[in-house]
């Protein structure tokens, strides 16, 4: 029996998605940047650029460097701040019929608390992604993401101040991803998303200087996919909450690998820079895969890896 339309719907806690394909924070702006190329309403969700309590100007340039099958970035969380996000960026997204996930970041637990409670009152915000894993800021950021107790404290703080679904975005720059994943699960996270970028570096030999002004930056792109896949698989075996797989996804084939490894949804990141239409291609490709595998629903694919 040929299936014309396999069911692509997934749920991440109380966050309902028409398909498992989301955009990764920091790679899709505030959505509007891609509107002339991508049909935004087809996406599972849009995860916007990370938002802080006050605007941040970001790091000095150079901020990006190309590496083999990947790129390094040290943007430094440049963003317009929560106030301007709500007044200037969110109104556009209101008219796009797609869930908006707001990525939040802070230097202190109080800042996460402030952001969580402010966004909790805004109906257009479908869910919160808590960024405890950016490697490019000196304070907070990755420190929260590499210490299980701090990760737990931040997660609990957001949980207590926000009734919306909470996804905690994990750093790969840890020895054992399952420890952090379990810690944030215990603290009340509805889901975890992983991985954020891997700390890396590039050197200009002629100048004998680092390529990035920040010296180190986050590695992303297809180069990191095998690491991301391994971590998603490990985390899926360790926690009971849904997992959102991220890391080097450039095609439907890549996305399906993450679903098989146990991710309930995926985020496309760096690939948006290279092929702005990639998210739509991934959605179409997942559907074709399910048809080819005679699966009626994407649910049959999630965690279906035979080991």
């Amino acid at each position: 029996m040929a299936l014309v339309k396999p069911d692509l719907q997934v749920d991440i806690g109380n966050l309902h998605l028409q398909n498992p394909v989301m955009t990764a924070s920091g790679t899709f702006g505030y959505g509007e940047e891609f509107a002339s190329i991508v049909d935004l309403s087809r996406l599972g969700a849009i995860v916007v650029k990370g938002i802080s309590v006050v605007p941040r100007v970001g790091n000095s340039p150079p901020r990006v460097a190309e590496t083999a099958c990947g790129m390094l970035n040290a943007i430094g969380l440049e963003n317009v701040g929560v106030e301007r996000f709500v007044s200037e960026k969110l109104p556009y997204l209101r008219n796009v019929n797609v869930p908006v996930v707001v990525n939040i970041l802070g230097d202190t637990t109080e800042e996460y608390q402030d952001l969580a409670s402010q966004l909790n009152d805004i109906p257009e915000v479908a869910a919160i992604e808590v960024n405890i894993s950016c490697p490019n800021v000196k304070k907070g950021g990755v420190a929260f993401g590499t210490d299980p107790e701090m990760a737990q404290t931040v997660t609990r703080t957001v949980r207590e101040n926000c009734s919306k679904p909470i996804i905690v975005k994990l750093s790969p720059n840890v020895t054992d991803i399952t420890v952090i994943a379990k810690a944030v699960e215990d603290a009340g996270a509805d889901a975890v998303s992983l991985i954020n970028t891997i700390l890396g570096m590039a050197i200009n030999t002629g100048r004998r200087r680092p390529v990035l002004a920040n010296v180190v930056g986050g590695l992303s792109g297809p180069a990191i996919k095998p690491i991301a896949l391994r971590m998603v698989w490990q985390a899926a075996n360790a926690v009971n909450i849904p997992i959102v797989g991220i890391g080097g996804i450039c095609s439907a084939q890549d996305a399906v690998e993450f679903l098989l490894a146990g991710a309930s949804a995926i985020q496309v990141g760096t690939a948006n820079f290279i092929n702005p239409r990639v998210t739509e291609e991934v959605i179409d490709g997942i559907r074709e895969y399910l048809i080819g595998q005679k699966m009626e629903s994407v649910q049959e694919c999630i965690g279906a890896l035979k080991v």
Binding site: R63, A68, C69, N73, P222, F273, N275
Partner: protein, 261 residues
């Protein structure tokens, strides 16, 4: 601003010198939408390495079906691009960015260096709709005569007078293109439009400031997306804190907007 992602067929590949190439692409949507000073992002590899698209300013368009880019083979990306032949297709995103603002009826000076000359031809062509040719001064510089001559030819065909400078003295003034501005110092205020390497842009900006002329500069920087999503192409602002972004706020800026380092 509307941008498009197209699979554009290469109509013509012209080898202007050993390492300077002009590509003509069939790209209807971009040809119709683009303005002088805007750019496109081109994927040169079908695979993951090199990963990122490469930015190219638009050299010319017929406004209907074709666009041209002009580039020098310098790094891996342009080396791969140089191996493409007519009939092949390139994945191209554009038009992108904020281009030149043409000041109608105002005497004008175009200053281009090396491959920075590329967008100025499109600009000159468009300008002639609203400016008399005698009101446009074109100052062009490059390393050698071999490189500069084919580029200057495009402006001459438009009926414009071109002053040239080369690093080795093989054509025109022996020295910097900026030196050519000296003999126009006593002119009434002109609008400057400049594109070239960073040190040249800085020099043009300073010279314009001394003369009290308004100056538009096209800047270049490493960028990953061209869509204002990655925020990688930051340039420090002159006033206030923070950065402008070359892909969206630029590539063309008023020289007073950015901090010259």
């Amino acid at each position: 601003m509307e941008s498009f992602q197209e699979k554009s067929e290469i109509i013509k590949v012209e080898q202007l010198t050993d390492d300077v190439i002009r590509l003509t692409l069939h790209s209807q949507a971009i040809a119709k939408a683009t303005l002088p000073g805007q750019f496109v992002m081109i994927k040169v590899s079908g695979g993951h390495d090199p990963l990122l698209r490469r930015p190219f300013s638009l050299h010319r368009t017929d406004g209907k079906e074709t666009v041209q880019i002009l580039y020098k083979v310098l790094g891996r990306g342009t080396k791969i691009l140089s191996e493409f032949c007519a009939g092949q297709k390139l994945d191209i995103v554009g038009p992108l960015g904020h281009g030149f603002t043409i000041k109608k009826d105002k005497p004008t000076c175009l200053v281009g260096g090396g491959m920075g000359i590329a967008p100025l031809l499109f600009l000159a062509d468009t300008m002639l709709n609203s400016l008399e040719p005698q009101n446009i001064i074109v100052l062009l510089g490059a390393q050698t005569k071999a490189e500069l001559e084919p580029l200057a030819g495009g402006f001459e065909k438009l009926g414009l007078v071109v002053e040239t400078a080369t690093d080795d003295g093989s054509l025109g003034h022996h020295g910097f293109v900026i030196d050519l501005m000296d003999k126009f110092e006593t002119d009434p205020s002109r609008e400057m439009y400049a594109c070239g390497p960073y040190p040249m842009m800085r020099a043009v900006a300073r010279k314009s400031e001394i003369l009290g002329w308004n100056c538009q500069v096209s800047l270049e920087t490493m960028m990953a997306c061209g869509l204002a999503a990655c925020l990688g192409c930051a340039y420090p602002r002159k006033y206030g804190s923070g950065y402008v972004h070359v892909c969206k706020d630029g590539p063309v800026f008023d020289s007073e907007e950015v901090l010259w380092l």
